[in-house]
């Protein structure tokens, strides 16, 4: 199979979503971008004629990992809200 414009677009999207997921300041946004990245990976596997991996990536890489990450994001957010009163982060910054 030869290279098509779709592959170029997919490659750009993969690198872009990975980059945005890593630099996003908000953990929730980073996680959603990572789920998008996982679904794009499933497409890449399908292009590499690896349907087995595409199935597993869509179900596990994007689905299950996404659920785990979102659960953790919610938990960490709740911990931060409960353990530090408003301005707690600033106080910690000042202590450095």
């Amino acid at each position: 199979m030869s290279l098509s414009p779709f592959d170029l677009l997919l490659a750009v999207m993969l690198l872009l979503t990975a980059w945005r997921a890593l630099v996003a300041p908000d953990p929730f946004r980073a996680t959603v971008l990572f789920i998008v990245f996982g679904l794009l990976m499933a497409l890449a596997w399908a292009r590499l004629s690896a349907p087995d991996i595409a199935l597993a990536e869509a179900a596990i890489g994007a689905g299950l990992t996404g659920a785990l990450l979102l659960d953790a994001v919610g938990h960490l957010r709740a911990v931060r809200r409960q353990s530090s009163p408003p301005g707690g982060d600033k106080a910690r910054e000042a202590a450095k």
């Binding site: 349907p51 087995d52 199935l55 597993a56 179900a59 596990i60 689905g63 299950l64 659920a67 785990l68 659960d71 919610g74 938990h75 709740a78 911990v79 409960q82």
Partner: protein, 223 residues
């Protein structure tokens, strides 16, 4: 981290990417043609789908250890202990719960199909287990299934069953001469048995990665 250090790390990683690209570009063709070898031995593997043949027969050792790793990861999570739930209570949602109850049996059916299809087309124990795990996560989020703070005896047995069945089949091969060497006539049935065990155990283990957590507190008593 210091700003200059960050820039240095970013630059080094960019150099690494270029070096990797250069190495991959210059790599000579592989001296061994693995796809041809797999295709040549497919007839004696007991299944018709090459990926399943590699997973469960030619490189069964890797898969056996991988199942062990998964079990140990879940044990580690259970050993770390559940953290107290911090998120606010969700009100029970009858629509979501009804939908989950409707979808879960269908997902089990899909998992069964994927398991059966793995012998001759894309599919197999791993994908089937992933669908089972997704059903578990859905049921947990919708309400009917509660988190595992302390898995009971039946659940623990089911979690270990896949690994134990696989190990038993592997050791049976020792009688033939080598570990994980299936008798020709029985290869197909043995692989299906191992895959069935793996589907149940891997599905429960993967679901357990999500379920081995704290209780989601419910708003008010459920009726």
């Amino acid at each position: 981290m210091n700003r200059w250090a960050s820039v240095a790390v970013a630059l080094l990683c960019a150099v690494l990417a270029l070096a990797l690209a250069w190495a991959m570009w210059d790599l000579p063709p592989a001296p061994v043609a693995l796809p041809a070898q797999v295709a040549g031995s497919l007839a004696i593997s007991g299944v018709e789908h090459p990926v399943t043949a590699v997973l469960l027969n030619f490189r069964g050792y890797d898969t056996l250890l991988e199942v062990g790793v998964l079990l140990i990861a879940l044990l580690g999570m259970l050993a770390a202990g559940a953290t107290p739930e911090r998120m606010t209570a969700l009100p029970p949602d009858p629509v979501l719960e009804g939908l989950a109850r409707l979808l879960a049996p269908l997902m089990v059916l899909v998992a069964g199909y994927l398991l059966w299809a793995g012998a001759f087309r894309p599919g197999g124990a791993f994908q089937a287990a992933a669908v089972l795990a997704a059903a578990g996560v859905l049921l947990r989020l919708a309400g009917p299934v509660t988190a595992w703070t302390r898995p009971g005896r039946v659940l623990r047995l089911a979690l270990a069953a896949g690994f134990v069945v696989f190990l038993a089949v592997a050791v049976l091969g020792l009688a033939q001469g080598a570990m994980l060497e299936y008798p020709r006539a029985w290869a197909g049935s043995l692989i299906l048995a191992v895959e069935a065990g793996l589907t149940v155990s891997l599905g429960l283990t993967l679901a357990g990665l999500f379920l081995a957590g704290p209780e989601i507190p419910r708003g008010g008593p459920r009726t």
